[in-house]
Amino acid sequence: MSGFGPGVDRSAPAASAGAFADSRPPASDRSGVGSTGPGSAPAVPSIEFEAVSFAYPDGTRALSQIGLRIGSGESVAIVGQNGSGKSTLVRHLNGLLRPTTGRVLLDGNDVRPIHVARLASSVGLAFQNPDCQLFSGRVSTEVAFGPRNLGIHGGELEERVRAALEEVGLDAEASTNPYDLGYSRRKLLALASVLAMRTPILALDEPTTGQDARGVARVRDVVARAFGEGRTVIAISHDMRFVAESFRRVVVMREGCIVLDGAPDVVFGEAAWGELRASYLEPPLPSVAGARLGLGATVTEAAFVAALERRAGTISR
């Protein structure tokens, strides 16, 4: 699938050493940008949180005056301490939660009057706990549920189910009962169920939890592909390596507020370490090692090695 638009804000700083090189065609070259014509993909709405606060019924205040704009086609990781409000924030995207005060806007339109079922065509949310999401007795039925509710039937539905299962590596399990899969594969199934809906906005709540190295690589590919297609990808994660390598923007939350927001180089850079640690987070090891060696911002292994190579080249000359 291709052709989500209109595309990410190119003025945003990207991380160093090519680890985040944007291999996508320019937004203007992608088909379907802002178009609603036959055969074209829907445009990707921008997201805006306007002074959003949220308190659960027991009085727990989870979000405080959140102001956040996510442009069309951005890839954004949300990180923060357990209980800092990350999951609460993304559940506002598809209307599962509604702000106590403030507004959530999609393309400038307040989502409050829009029913969850309608928002589901714009925002696909994969839950942190797959067991909160899965209910079918068969893997293929589970994956078909979302797109069928969006009005997809017949050959296209079958194709979507097949493609989504293949993308997460579960194509051989189409007739398996989801609860005969291990936890990590149930997480991938929950992800496939959302991928099959082909929503312009993809929100993933801790997608790498419980995954082995191959599973993490698979999730990384899913994120890269969706971003490459021009979709907005938002993921909550505690895996700082995954965050540094797969996202162009990192939002740090603490106690219901946003305390840092920028490119991985900035958020994981030495100047931000105090704020990070106050948020119970640690910068990735390449970032720490790079600072110790005076290499500058090296948030990924590739960036660290590239900086070392540059320094070795300078010395040898």
Binding site: Y280, P286, E301
Partner: protein, 273 residues
Amino acid sequence: MSVGIRLDGVSYRYAGAAATSLRNVGLELEPGRVVGVVGANESGKSTLCLVVAGLAPAVIGGRLEGSVRIDGIETAAMRPHDLAQRCGLLSQNAATQLSGTTATVFEEVGFGPCNLGLPVADVVQRVWAALGAVGIESLAPRDPARLSGGQGQLVAIASILALRPRYLVLDEPTSELDPAGTKLVAEALARIARDTGAGILLVEHKTDVLAQIADEVVVLERGAVAFSGPAAAVLADPRLVELGVESPAAVRLERAVRTSGLEWSAALAKALS
């Protein structure tokens, strides 16, 4: 009587399953030691936890071959409450472990000790100690049903700790925790093993945690032990990558530097420490 958990020639097949999930597994866990278990998804790690804790086959059925002994007694011959007191199991999905019957985190963590029939003062003392071990005293009055995923995981860990079993079997206890929470739990487990002599079997994808606290590491591949040994040696073994296990960050970074042809130096090693 020999102490520790000992598995000899253990094979296990789930009820109704065509394939065997564990194949001829041997493993030893001595009191006061931390043994890490790694392996790709579906390599048998969670099944191993169920077998060691005696739930498979006693509770979930299936067919077990070989011997699983805790302190010299076959688990098949132990009564459930005796087994539960000797060996605490934290399941991979911690949310399924909370009782769903309590109104506060404090009561949830006290649920197990209360069922052991302990005096109230002892239960209270155990609950505060367990909450303190994982740094969640402030959650004590909260509703367990309204916690974040990571907070729920910490409550589940505290609930196991409050039972003070002689052995802990933990299936990815830090999977949903932030880096600080992960560090806190790792430190707490190391302290518990050292100070109380508990033996800990720790399934972890975060090999950095194992590098920090494990004495030995066992690598599973398709239900069998691929190799095992002292933690530092196993975690630096390049075979881990082929087996779908991510090496610790420092090992990966050193490997990336060496692979690029750059010279490895003491200064680099120090920067990664």
